[in-house]
């Protein structure tokens, strides 16, 4: 096989980073990103992009930790370079506060973020309803800048980007040798994965440039994440809801919850409301599959289901997906040389 043709379905953070890893590890591959949506209309664009991992019940912790570590290391290097502002990557410090002491005092990622430690009593005084807290410094990937930067890097190394709604992975079998499924929530329909479900998140993006620290309630429902130009206020976790329309009652509720953590937000301006459907699953689906019809085979690599933790693990899962693509190509080349015999 001279130049294996790889299609990546999906142009969110998972699709774009996966395409990048494939193109970098397989320079002879011709990679194309196919998606019906590109930034700023992907699920990733709604997310704040904070590197605070979500825990997947069905993925081994050491794997999740590895994914997070790889992602953090990769982004840390960019944040410390002149490209940081274009890529939308920046460090941000802040606090995770708990009304009740959490079961595990040290999350698995505490030694990967910077300066992780329990909050002092003086710091906790700012949060009278909370009894325990953790302070640390982590990274934030602002979208759209990060996705646009990934697109720019992809184009620079010859990756094509095509707007196309793929209804069925099989429809790609004649044009591509390997298909990578990074369709996120779209995988529900695309491959009929009933284990994949949306967790609806509504957020507010406001202008409040004096907010320099993040604040997150340990229950994961209320958070304040300062980005480059806007502060993301959240949120909700509505399991099973496919509703993409902003709900004004929820907007008000999010605003009140965030103001009780950070009263100065009452002076925030230019509120924009956004909704995203987190592509959630008990475990990330990161595996190979071979589709076949009538003797024709199509190797597929699935990389979706990162749910609330997409940004936190994207590079780690992208690298692993690229390895799986490499295995698919090797298998194809092996079988094609066998065919010649």
């Amino acid at each position: 096989m001279v130049a294996p043709k790889v299609a990546v379905v999906g142009a969110g953070v998972i699709g774009l980073s996966t395409a990048l890893c494939i193109a970098e590890t397989c320079p002879s591959c011709s990679v194309t990103v196919l998606s019906d949506q590109f930034s700023p209309n992907t699920t990733s664009d709604v997310a704040a992009g904070m590197l605070i991992p979500h825990t997947y019940p069905d993925t081994p912790i050491h794997v999740q930790k590895q994914w997070f570590k790889e992602t953090f290391t990769y982004l840390f290097a960019i944040s410390n370079s002149a490209e940081a502002s274009e890529a939308g990557i920046h460090l941000v410090s802040g606090w995770q506060v708990f009304k009740n002491t959490p079961k595990e005092e040290l999350p698995f990622w505490s030694d990967i973020v910077l300066g992780f430690r329990p909050m002092s009593e003086e710091e906790l005084r700012k949060f009278p309803q909370h009894r325990f807290g953790q302070a640390f410094t982590t990274l934030k990937c602002d979208c759209p800048p990060y996705l646009l930067w990934l697109e720019k890097r992809l184009k620079a190394i010859g990756v094509q980007m095509r707007t196309r709604k793929v209804a069925d992975l099989w429809e790609l079998h004649s044009e591509y040798d390997v298909v990578v499924n990074c369709a996120g929530i779209g995988a529900h329909q695309l491959v009929g994965d009933t284990e994949l479900f949306p967790v609806r998140g509504q957020v507010l993006k406001v202008h409040a440039p004096w907010v320099k620290n993040f604040i997150r309630d340990g229950d994961g429902l209320t958070y304040i994440y300062p980005g480059i130009h806007t502060v993301t206020l959240g949120g909700t976790r509505e399991k099973g809801s496919w509703n993409l329309s902003p709900d004004p009652g929820i907007t008000k509720d999010i605003f009140e919850r965030c103001c009780s953590l950070e009263p100065s937000l009452r002076g925030a301006q230019d509120t924009k409301v956004k909704v995203g459907l987190r592509p959630s699953r008990q475990g990330v689906r990161l595996q190979r599959e071979v589709l076949s019809q009538g003797g024709v085979k199509l190797p597929v690599v699935h990389n979706y289901g990162q749910g609330a933790g997409g940004f936190s693990v994207h590079m780690g899962t992208a690298k692993e997906a690229a390895c799986l693509v490499g295995e698919c190509i090797a298998a194809l080349q092996g079988s094609s040389s066998r065919a010649k015999l």
Partner: protein, 265 residues
Amino acid sequence: MRGAVIGAGVIGLSTALCIHERYHGLVPSLEMEVYADRQTPHTTSDGAAGLWQPYLSDHGNLQETLWHKETFDHLLGHLGSPAAKEMGLFLISGYNLFTQPVPDPSWKNIVLGFRNLTPKELELFPGYSYGWFNTALMLECRSYLPWLTERLTQRGVKFFRKKVESFQEMFARGVDVVINCTGVRAGELQPDPELQPGRGQVIKVLAPWVKHFIITHDMEAGIYNSPYVIPGSEFTVLGGIYQHGNWNEENSAQDHKTIWESCCR
């Protein structure tokens, strides 16, 4: 009873407010006035980025440390109030960097969450091998001074845009008590050889992705003669110039170059 504050920088205005708050009830006839030839945004205070951070050492001067604590705690108390945004007051975290280990500062227990930097954090700052992380406060004078002026005006304090040439001039006007908050030019009213200008120059840039202050220290070059980056609510202030004895209020192209290059590093 007439009291006159000379100077409308952060010291003059806050002093005037404290006096009025404390004595207005006790002395019903109290009339306060503020005299200044320069008001916001042209005072020395307006040039400052507004980061609350004292010098590294109080040299054993406990009174200063108490003043620091009182100020910090007072401002911290205002953080949750609706006035905070108007005051230009907000929390900010950041880094102090050194090329060698140094003793902890006198204010380590005043700021929030003071700790040493971890090796991974120091990777961000090549050339620096030691440092601190803490959360402190920003008080932006371009908001704070107008806010103080508004509070004073509401209390009936009168403002006079006027250069005061002597204390005598005030007494001749019938002022009973003069409060001298003239800052760097106090020597014009009463010679004080211990008072010297510490000229600073800054560059204000738009860099809203920078969320932390970064203050470097060069023990040989002296305080604030080493680059610093302080993100405000709109602009990020880059600085690192402290010239003792220099009265020049013009920008220096050389200083501009120094600041820009050292901060980018």
